[in-house]
Symmetry: C2
Subunit: 159 residues, 2 copies
């Protein structure tokens, strides 16, 4: 009874284009603050509080070594700092500096405002529907990979 065989062909197309648009917005906003899109993403991810490298590799879908470089450059620019984890002497948490926090918030707000502006014509109900639909897709993906983005919140350490 499910009609998933021949849905709207434009649906995935729309998703892909939207992703592209978001990417573009991220790029523009990042540039306004003299950041690369990746750095902006990193900063926004750290707004919720310090995060460990391993957690970041999962959130950003990067290899460890790639992340090392990204954090290195961000650290060299004084945007983030590595702080040793008290419970695990090999691990380190990445933390926003003062300037990093300022920039991160500005960038995050910029992206949010841009997207909100673009979606201004969208009635609130539709907006909620889209949000929930996306939530479903994300949940489906999460259940498949068994990994989540771990939204801004306390890092749930298994122990």
């Amino acid at each position: 009874m499910v009609t998933t065989n021949e849905p709207v062909p434009g649906f995935t197309e729309a998703l892909v284009r939207l992703a592209h648009l978001v990417q573009q917005v991220y790029g523009e906003v990042a540039r306004e603050h003299d950041l690369t899109p990746q750095q902006a993403q990193l900063l926004c991810l750290l707004i919720g509080g310090p995060v460990g490298m391993t957690e970041l590799t999962r959130a950003l879908h990067l290899e460890k070594s790639s992340l090392t470089g990204l954090v290195d450059r961000a650290e060299r620019r004084g945007l983030v700092a590595r702080v040793r984890d008290s419970r695990d002497r090999r691990a380190c948490l990445i933390e926003l500096t003062g300037e990093g926090t300022r920039t991160a918030v500005l960038a995050h707000d910029g992206v949010t405002r841009q997207l909100e502006t673009l979606a201004a014509d969208l009635p609130a109900e539709h907006r909620e529907l889209v949000a929930s639909a996306i939530g479903g897709i994300l949940a489906e993906h999460t259940s498949r990979t068994g990994r989540a983005w771990s939204a801004p919140g306390p890092h749930r350490q298994g122990g």
Copy 2:
């Protein structure tokens, strides 16, 4: 009584995450076919027919020089070819080769299938609604920048 002032704060968050997910799917599929995400994107864009460099820079939001490199590498791999434009001797159209077409279709199908799978739980009506909502957002952005992606179809020569 428009309620655009304090909408769902999770809306833009959802958009951003979705973009990330699509990006990831693109990356996975690309890798399955020994492509970089950018190459996959290029190939998918060419499925509709040959496209000029300038048009491609707009579609991919790249500088001319960046695109030259991307096309260079794709050409070196035998995926695309530069064909001279008969009407304009400085311009060239980028065209898929035989293998390029095969790969492009496979990659496009792969991405589509993945996304469809993830959205399988979404009822068709919601899907259409989401697609149209996204369409609205894209249209808004288009009207702001005055430029469109020029969906798969005949290249409209601006004249």
